[in-house]
């Protein structure tokens, strides 16, 4: 009796996991593509924000404030339905995926931009003056001196954002893009059990555990200077 129960449990867990696997790929894809686009884009946004050209810096400031001041879910809806309501463009099936990546990247770029900005501003004035005296060009100054120190300054904040991103990938359900959490909810409803949600929770936790571990390694790597 007990044995049969255990076998039944194991089988169901196995079936749930294999069903969730189809969504895991989608979640990972959202995660990595968002980082791939938002990390560099955030740097451009930060430059715009710090620009001496007032109209640009104000425009970027507005963008950051809107992105940070409204729900990501709402932003995803706007990116997905916007083209249709604004221009009457019929969306193609693939656009659902693009909308997720565009929405996430624009959102995270705004957060990363503010992190970069604080990291850049934390580089002492004396570093800029030393570069000036040594004759570095602005590009040399940025890449040789400011950027490495910025990276060290911002790693803890970036870790926070990346961990949030892992969990935020579940918001793609807002525009019916099927990632892992969507699958988990479907399976839970179909089979009347909360086990899939529990398994999903374990997945996010393990994912973030790996992220935290990797970031900690990176922080240690940057400890070669102070």
């Amino acid at each position: 009796m007990m044995l049969a129960d255990n076998i039944g449990f194991a089988q169901r867990l196995g079936s749930i996991c294999s069903q969730l696997m189809s969504g895991v790929g989608a979640s990972l894809l959202i995660f990595f593509l968002t980082l791939l686009f938002s990390l560099p884009l955030g740097l451009l946004v930060a430059f715009g924000r710090m620009s001496k050209f007032k109209p640009l810096s104000l425009l970027v400031k507005l963008y950051i404030s809107v992105v940070r001041g409204t729900p990501l879910m709402l932003q995803l809806l706007v990116v997905f339905f916007g083209p249709f309501f604004l221009f009457g463009i019929r969306s193609t099936p693939e656009y659902r995926f693009y909308a997720v990546i565009i929405g996430f990247s624009l959102n995270y770029a705004a957060y990363f931009a503010e992190i970069y900005r604080s990291g850049i501003q934390a580089v002492p004035v004396g570093q800029h003056e030393a570069c000036e005296i040594l004759g570095y060009t602005p590009a040399q100054k940025f890449f040789k001196v400011v950027f490495p120190q910025m990276v060290k300054n911002i790693l803890p904040s970036v870790t926070n954002e990346v961990i949030t991103l892992v969990k935020d990938t579940s918001l793609a359900f807002a525009i019916a893009y099927t990632e892992m959490f969507t699958v988990a909810k479907q399976v839970a409803a179909k089979e009347s059990t909360i086990m899939p949600l529990f398994v999903a929770g374990v997945f996010y936790y393990v994912f973030n555990f790996v992220v935290a571990f990797a970031m900690e390694r990176l922080e240690k790597k940057m400890n070669f200077f102070r």
Binding site: P124, I133, L134, G135, Y136, Q149, K152, F224, R226
Partner: protein, 252 residues
Amino acid sequence: MKLLEIKNLRKRFDELEVLKDISLDVEEGQVVSVLGPSGSGKSTLLRCMSMLEKADGGTMTYCGKTAMSEKDGKSVFADKKTLKEIKSYYSLVFQNFNLFPHYTVLKNICDAPIHVMKRDKDEVIKEGRALLEKMGLSDKADYYPYQLSGGQQQRVAIARALNMKPRMLFFDEPTSALDPELTAEILKVLKELAAEKMTMMIVTHEIAFARSISDHVIFMDGGVIVEQGSPADVIDSPSNERTKAFLKKLEQ
């Protein structure tokens, strides 16, 4: 030969007039010390001279090339190419070193000569090592700045400036961030440079040092040069009341 010629230099920060009509010359091989109470504008003078700060008026000429002149009451700077040339004539050593924390000692002193002056890498490194040897730091080439004492960091900063092969060096209170025993090691390095006829302008509070090393002493107060001349004149028998008061205060 005059390496530096400053005439009627003026600088204000909003309402505050920090430099009022400063004129001075530095001859090749000369060591000029700048004394004066805190807030008198010594740093601002060095920062205007090294163009970290933009002066409001006056003229600045380096090795016969004019970097800044005045037209209709406004400062006019030379073209980019001339300024770049002029900037290679001098270097500035900061009070708090401003070494690059993420570069090793050797990279700190070799990176700019290689990537700014575009000099041969092997040659720069060879000369960089020789400079470290001279500064008594040959075993520290692969250290990072945080692993060094303040005095060692300042010696690296001096080596970094020297490796750019400037014709003159400016120092802004190079020992003020250091303990007395570390101050001594920097003053020793400056004396060696003076013996080699390096042209230097040094802002300092070390009066005894200034007396022994300088060919010329400038005393500043309230944004003007109150008195200047030989160390014997300015330090030993000052004629101005403010100079006397300042020196007396330092003695106590």
